[in-house]
């Protein structure tokens, strides 16, 4: 393993000032107002699907951000992050049971702290083992830890409940504000509150010396060592704290669903953290938030419509790794200087030109994937492919020809347009550089 650590610094919020503050406020207002956008006034009730999706997004934001404390900020690729999420969830499920029978008298509002504490303790134990190493060895140890705990969760019935998981009841009648948490909207606001607390907490952690040293150890751990910091200890503290936040996310999961199964501890969820953080962008603090919201919304939406959700995520992920390693947030940040120079308008036409073939390409690809999957999985489920109300005969050649044609034409066209786009982009950035050199 060479030291090909990325030397992209975290986006420093030095001059960000007011714009950043407004972004925080906007996020909070959006989080509070969103459920009411889908409020059914005729029946006077909230949309259950939307509330559950937003709640899921909330805990996934915590989860993805805490993952990025390792991946983006400390350069550690972990494959066991779900272990802390799941463990926090299990502990809170037990705590809820304990709270209702009186053996653990804690109000509902503070339950996430119990989950966070559980995640912290487990992360201290496993972090002690894993953070002695870095890079690939670290990744391998965490992979082992993840598999170990997922297998253990299936094995030990008493604490983890085996395959069925454990259930509890969140109506424990212990609240600081006299809320019963019978309605999901109350739980949603609890999640919003704790998500906000965690996000702010993790943001301020990036500003502390610890956060800065984590960046230093990511970029050049030998130099950090010479300055007098022990990278192992920096990694260890960072790992433990990320476990704390993951545990808080897991606690919210347990409260919202009232059941925790071994799935919330297993590999796919750890992989999900990686996908969310990477697709959103690991080099910007807000990147994982973007990724978590995007993936959750797509997952809830697309997985209802399609069987092939995993293929789309996989292709999206590979595309990001190959072409946009800095993630969605990285793309957005790259537009900052251009916007400041007032040259954003110059990009409008190239963007439209690149979006048209891109759209055709995506459409062709989706059509092809759906056609293939409807031959096997769809057929087994007895479903029929229906597009815009028209049933489509997958046995005939026409849809296949359209799909493959769209894929090929879109691909070739996009390749051509992306060259044009690249030329315009390079021109603008070169111009900006010249302007900067003159001043």
């Amino acid at each position: 393993m060479s030291d090909a650590a990325r030397s992209i610094p975290m986006a420093t919020p030095r001059r960000a000032g007011s714009a950043m503050t407004w972004l925080w406020v906007l996020g909070l207002v959006l989080a509070i107002a969103l459920p009411w956008c889908f409020y059914d006034f005729a029946k006077a009730r909230h949309s259950g699907f939307m509330i559950s999706m937003f709640s899921q997004a909330g805990m996934m934001i915590i989860f993805a951000l805490s993952y990025n404390m390792l991946m983006g900020q400390a350069g550690l690729l972990s494959f066991c992050h779900a272990v802390f999420f799941g463990f926090g969830g299990y502990v809170v499920i037990h705590a809820l049971t304990g709270a209702s029978n009186g053996s653990f008298p804690i109000p509902m509002e503070l339950m996430p702290l119990a989950g966070g504490l559980a995640g912290l303790i487990l992360a201290i134990i496993f972090g002690y083992m894993a953070t002695k190493q870095r890079a690939t060895a670290f990744a391998m140890i965490t992979l082992g830890i993840g598999e170990l705990m997922a297998t253990a969760a299936l094995m030990f019935q008493h604490f983890f409940g085996g395959e069925g998981g454990i259930t509890s009841d969140r109506m424990i009648d212990r609240s600081l504000f006299g809320l019963s948490y019978a309605q999901s909207i109350e739980v949603y606001y609890l999640i919003v509150f704790w998500t906000m607390v965690s996000v702010i907490g993790m943001y301020f952690l990036t500003q502390t010396p610890l956060g800065r040293m984590a960046n230093a150890c990511r970029d050049n751990f030998e130099r950090a060592q010479f300055v007098g910091y022990d990278p192992k200890i920096v990694r260890f503290i960072q790992f433990a704290l990320s476990g704390l936040f993951a545990g808080m996310g897991g606690a919210l999961y347990a409260i919202a669903y009232e059941i925790v199964t071994f799935d919330s501890m297993a590999g796919p969820l750890s992989a999900n953290a990686l996908l969310m953080a990477y697709i959103g962008g690991t080099t910007v603090f807000g990147g994982p938030i973007l990724g978590a919201v995007l993936i959750t919304v797509l997952q809830s939406g697309v997985s209802l419509l399609s069987n092939s959700w995993l293929v789309y995520v996989g292709v999206l992920f590979i595309t990001m790794v190959t072409f946009v390693p800095e993630g969605l947030a990285g793309i957005i940040m790259a537009h900052g200087p251009i916007r400041k120079a007032g040259k954003l308008g110059k990009l409008a036409v190239p963007y439209v030109r690149i979006l048209v073939p891109g759209f055709i390409l995506v459409l062709g690809f989706v059509a092809l994937v759906e056609l293939v999957s409807f031959q096997t999985i769809g057929a087994a489920q007895g479903k029929k492919l229906v597009l815009f109300g028209n049933p489509i005969d997958i046995a005939s050649n026409i849809p296949w020809a359209v799909a493959i044609g769209g894929l090929i034409i879109g691909g070739i066209w996009l390749r051509f347009e992306s060259i044009v786009f690249g030329r315009v982009w390079d021109e603008i950035t070169a111009e900006l550089k010249r302007a900067e050199a003159r001043t």
């Binding site: 297998t151 030990f156 990686l274 996989g314 790794v321 190959t322 390693p325 994937v369 293939v372």
Partner: protein, 315 residues
């Protein structure tokens, strides 16, 4: 006694299957620094392709064709995928193969459906080879041993006795020096990647009908293969071999023994029955702990000896 002998043979069969997968992975990993997450996915593709080929042409053509196809897939991944992301570092390469896992997993389900494939042992290999203390040893397991021993010999000859092997060996330990001497290292990489994927495909061909050919077989095999590679140590095929056999033995022997941790203490003192997590840990039988052991062993060895059993450099 008979249990030990039979388990020893079964452990050897499973261990050799592991080695077939792990040898390719360790060659790729130590040469290119790429942890190929999709290695077990290639193994799964190998099994599905073998099923498809054997349905039309029979088992023996599948034994040759499927690994070649898997090798071609591997070469394509290396040339059109990994080389593009190479300049972003090893983590990007790892993530690329990580994304492939999802695509292969779902792609296989899309093409062949969710149900296990009826990929069976060919009839001319489906007879008991010999009987050991009343237990039959199937001829197909003997055949698997034969194939894996042949592969072991072929790899050894290739690496030790040919010029290609010399270059590969040199590139394992000193990739920069080899490239400075004028060898086309990227082409060596492609070759090794394709070869490793071909071996994974071969493991899929003979493992697909020994175990089950289904879309979860990559998930079942993947983590264990990583454990083997890390446990054995980077850059060492011998370590990889020893680790494969150890893991194969552990997995088969653990199923056989029914002791618990409480049993181990029983000569000293009686462990009281407890209805807690600790009580459960103490009384869970060995046969159920089995799946945990490889991971526990790997974490242990990485803590004590980060370079693995016979590794030449840190992971």
């Amino acid at each position: 006694m008979e249990i030990i002998l039979v388990s020893l043979l079964n452990g050897l069969v499973y261990g050799m299957l592991l080695f077939m997968l792990a040898s390719g992975l360790t060659l790729i990993f130590s040469m290119m620094g790429v942890l190929n997450f999709a290695h077990a996915s290639i193994y799964m593709i190998g099994a599905y392709l073998a099923f498809e080929v054997s349905r039309w042409f029979g088992f023996l053509p599948a034994l040759i064709l499927a690994p070649i196809l898997c090798g071609a897939i591997g070469a394509a991944i290396e040339i059109w995928g990994l080389r593009r992301v190479h300049h972003n570092g090893h983590i990007a390469e790892l993530l690329f193969t990580f994304g492939l896992v999802f695509i292969v997993q779902r792609g296989v389900q899309m093409i062949w459906g969710m149900l296990p494939m009826p990929y069976r042992v060919p009839s001319y290999l489906d007879f008991p080879l010999f009987t050991l203390y009343g237990a039959n040893f199937p001829a197909y397991r003997g055949f698997m041993l034969l194939i894996s021993a042949g592969m072991l010999l072929a790899i050894w000859l290739l690496l030790k006795k040919t010029r290609v092997g010399l270059i590969i060996q040199a590139a394992l330990t000193h990739p920069n020096m080899v490239s400075s001497l004028g060898h086309n290292v990227p082409m060596v990489f492609t070759g090794v990647f394709a070869g490793g994927c071909g071996l994974a495909g071969l493991a899929g061909v003979i493992g697909g009908n020994y175990l089950t050919t289904e879309s979860s077989m990559a998930d079942a095999m993947g983590p264990i293969v990583f454990v083997v590679v890390v446990f054995g140590g980077l850059g060492s095929l011998a370590g990889c071999f020893i680790a494969s056999i150890i893991m194969g033995m552990i997995q088969t022997f653990a199923v056989v023994f029914d002791y618990t941790i409480a049993d181990m203490f029983s000569p000293l003192f009686k462990v009281p029955e407890m209805d807690t997590l600790l009580g459960e840990i103490l009384t869970v039988p060995m046969s159920r702990i089995g799946p945990l052991l490889p991971y526990a062993l790997m974490i242990l060895i990485l803590l004590v000896r980060p370079r693995g059993l016979l590794g030449t450099r840190d992971t």
